[in-house]
């Protein structure tokens, strides 16, 4: 059934709006054709998610001329200009899926459990571990206070420690936690730890919680097995969390495949893209309350969610975490700290307002840079190799030694960065989005930068699980907007010193030669889909990823902004020009290079 799809309607029920898109097969290829949007109706006075879905469908019908509904019933299959072949949906309404995870060793089983929960689309409220330095009563209080939607308990390799994981189960039992939704229901707990401890954990938790037992997510120190735990999380998400959310029972009966948590669907999409082009990808979705970061490096998928970094509800928290100096450093104009603080707090309490003054827009873009940067730092810290590998000892010995953090995110091997979310997708000029992403992620070597045009990654993610061809075609043709390649240094140097020479040979034979000093950033014309041969030769002490002084020659494809050569060094130091050029002037120069803001 899923192979012969000609007309697909997909929705994403977000906290604020329900977004519907129509995907149609035109000739041999799938294209996204129409889009409708309506407020989500999970909250009072409607308290029925399907109202918002029907409203979004009504807008789609109006725009496309296709009759989708017969009363409140979706017409299937498609015939001519009537009906659709399948309806699919994702959901993050009602605060998404909020979980707590527990494991024995913080950097081993607890971290694997965290990855499993994040990968399944959850927000992880807290990670409890036997060695997290909190006293037992503090852990119990924390479990009781948080009221998650579910808890994932892991710990011990198969045949390994029993007592530690049972101890954690005892803490959960003593806390007797209540679920966030539905006071009278038992809290779902998934046990995915040492299989030798299953009976003991069951004795402790069976009467107090809705316990599910699944395969150990860390059966060996050297191996993670996150699939079964993720699957169980998604099953429970549908059975417990969604089933208690208003209107979802009806919605679930409409969809052709199970409803997915929105971030989980975006993760599916990222993996599909990385798989298809055999590339390393980093994706980010910066919302009002949270920022999700996804990565696929050498086929390994990771997702993190920074629950309190966002551009409206959580905007004030970005300042609290980053510090006001890290915000003002991006502003090319003077502004009093108190003024910034009041403006940001006003945005926080009235999150639906939009910047009207250019100054306010630049301020929001400064905050976005820091929100993205901090979220990426958190992502890099979690996207690490397995700890404890190749150490032939038992878990209890492992308590004493924690292997050095080694992130899987190698910036020099990153091929594509995809940005999504209002501040990036709806930036008045595309060059603003490109600057924000380059400044926040600081790519090295040659990296393509792109944005999601109208936030349809969740829809395509769930589609990719049933028809990957349709999902990737629409993603490439209608969803992604390539902003252009960015060629960056991997190291640092002295501000103003001779840094690199570049030769760009366009497809029509035209040649362009340019020299850049350290601290410069330049944008060269190279339109969407246009190809050019570039030859960049760094000075002796500078490195473009191939070694110091080593030239790179490559064919690159352009984007709507152009080809960017970034000679500002890594890590990017905004004080590098100190004593030579005021920071405000340097920022203005960079903005001018991108033609980022009106003058």
């Amino acid at each position: 059934m899923t192979e012969n799809l000609n007309v697909i309607v997909a929705t994403d029920c977000g906290s604020t709006t329900t977004k519907a898109i129509l995907i149609e097969k035109k000739g041999d290829e799938y294209r996204q054709t129409f889009r409708g949007e309506a407020p989500t109706t999970v909250e009072a006075p409607f308290e029925d998610v399907t109202r918002g879905v029907l409203n979004a469908f009504a807008e789609l019908e109006e725009l496309s001329g296709r009759k989708i509904l017969d009363g409140e019933k979706i017409i299937t299959p498609a015939q001519g200009n009537t009906g659709v072949d399948i309806y699919i949906s994702t959901s993050s309404a009602g605060g998404g899926l909020q979980m707590m995870v527990a494991g024995v060793v913080k950097t081993m089983s607890a971290q694997s459990a965290q990855k499993a929960a994040l990968g399944a689309g959850a927000i992880v409220m807290d990670v409890i571990a036997s060695n997290d330095k909190r006293l037992p009563h503090e852990k119990i209080e924390r479990i009781r206070d948080l009221r998650p939607d579910m808890i994932l308990l892991s710990g011990g390799t198969d045949g390994g420690t029993v007592s530690h994981v049972v101890e954690l189960a005892e803490f959960i039992g003593a806390a007797n936690p209540r679920p966030r939704l539905g006071m009278t229901f038992q809290l779902p707990v998934i046990y995915a730890g040492n299989n030798d401890a299953q009976d003991r954990v069951s004795d402790v938790l069976n009467d107090k919680t809705a316990l599910r037992i699944t395969d150990n997510l860390r059966p060996l120190l050297e191996r993670e097995n996150l699939g079964p735990a993720r699957q169980e999380i998604q099953n429970l998400f549908l059975e417990h969390v969604m089933a208690h959310a208003p209107g979802y029972k009806k919605l679930m009966s409409w969809t052709g495949v199970p409803i997915m948590p929105t971030p989980s669907a975006v993760g599916e999409m990222m993996q599909a893209i990385a798989r298809k082009a055999n590339i390393n990808v980093v994706g980010v979705d910066i919302g009002g309350a949270t920022t999700d970061v996804f990565s696929v490096f050498d086929g390994v998928f990771n997702r993190t969610v920074s629950a309190n970094f966002g551009m409206s509800y959580s905007i004030s928290n970005v300042i609290a975490e980053a510090g006001i100096d890290n915000i003002t450093k991006w502003l090319p104009f003077e502004i009093e700290e108190a003024d910034i603080r009041n403006r940001i707090k006003n945005k926080m309490i009235r999150p639906t307002t939009i910047p009207q003054l250019l100054e306010d827009l630049i301020l929001e873009h400064a905050i976005a840079r820091e929100a993205l940067r901090l979220s990426f730092v958190q992502h890099k810290a979690l996207a690490v190799g397995l700890k404890g590998v190749q150490k032939l000892k038992d878990m209890s010995e492992s308590f004493d030694r924690v292997a050095e953090e080694e992130t899987l995110i190698k910036m020099n091997n990153l091929d594509l960065i995809v940005g999504s979310g209002g501040v990036l997708s709806h930036a008045p000029r595309r060059s603003q989005a490109m600057m924000m992403m380059i400044d926040a992620f600081q790519p090295q070597g040659v990296t393509m930068i792109a944005v999601d045009s109208i936030f349809m990654m969740p829809h395509l993610g769930v589609l990719s699980t049933i028809n990957e061809k349709a999902a990737t075609e629409v993603f490439e043709k209608d969803c992604l907007i390539y902003l252009g390649p960015c060629i960056s240094l991997t190291n640092s140097g002295k501000y103003g010193s001779q840094c690199l020479n570049c030769v760009i040979t366009y497809s029509d034979g035209k040649k362009l030669e340019e020299s850049l000093l350290f601290g410069d950033i330049k944008v060269f014309e190279l339109g969407e889909g246009e190809k050019a041969e570039i030859e960049v030769t760094p000075a002796r002490q500078f490195d473009l990823g191939e070694g110091k002084g080593q030239k790179i020659t490559k064919e690159v494809t352009g984007g709507v902004v152009g080809l960017v050569i970034d000679a500002r060094g890594r890590p990017l130091d905004l004080d590098g020009s100190k004593g030579k050029e005021p920071r405000g002037e340097v920022l203005s120069k960079w903005n001018t290079a991108f033609n980022a803001y009106p003058t």
Partner: protein, 379 residues
Amino acid sequence: MTHAYTPGLRLADKLQIRKDRNLPLPGDVIVKKGDTVKSGDIVAMTNLPGKVHAVNVINRLAILPTDLRKNMLKKEGDSVVKDEPIAETSPFIKMFKSICLSPITGIIESISDITGQVLLREPPKPVQITAYVDGKVVETIENEGVVIETNATFIQGIFGIGGETTGELQIVVNSPDDIVKPEDIKEVHRGKIIAGGSIIYSDAIKKALDTGVKGIVVGGIRDKEINELLGYDLGVAITGSEDINITIIITEGFGQIGMAQRTFDMLKLREGAVASINGATQIRAGVVRPEIIIPYNDEDTSGKSDESGSADGKSAGISIGDQIRIIRNPNFGMLGTVKSLPSELQTIETEAMARVLEVKFPDGQTSIVPRANIEAIEK
């Protein structure tokens, strides 16, 4: 979007309000349907389970988990007092005896043969729920709580800190644009809720705290004052549980912003009445705004609402001639009337395309403002 979303706050001279007063855990409801209650009256009570403490007895006594039970002096369910022995070893030579003492007064909740852990629980903590508002009990939910109904003046604030409190309402300034100064707060304001003005600074907040004022309702406040009061930078607008001995509600926003005339007039009219206020704010889906409820004592007052503004999340259709307030720079806080509502998207200073409206200010000047940046305040 096809749907114009115009955030607004509720404001009503007279409104029938129902407040759910629920226990955190099942317990006893101690009033009955039809009872008339005062704000401070207790309507329901329960016991919260005590804190749990874990003691790893096998480590303390240096024994094996399998030997735990035979070394325990207490069993599950037994009461213990602080420093009472709960387990001890019986070695051949008495001087090698190890004793494990109870860290708390409470009961033994569980003894684990696997982990060697003994969990002890403190005695339950009683919790009482008050009526919060003067009114009538219109519904009781067995073991869970009650619903209180009252006819009251109802004003939603935009942001607050501090939880529920009640007190007599006193206006301390002459106009909604005045600054609330330390000298405006006097000894007579002890135990009361003071209101009015465009801003309050640290010195006046300190005076209010020293005087024993229970609550402050004001147009605006600086972020700085909130930081000083809380002792930390507020990251996310989820408030209400701060332990600061005062509840503060702002009606307009951060910075100096005159209180809306109608809000000021309403508060002035009800001066001397007992107000119930709650600073709890939660700006997420299912938004919670701070509230000021001033019940009427006359029970016959019909609950006809004379309400303006709109509940958050609902659409308030804006028409030409409507009074609006601008809620973002430039002209933040200014009032005006809608002069025109162009249907096409327009390019604003940031170059973004936005739905806009033309606003006319009292001095006759006009300005184009994104519709997202206004709120309807009164009709």
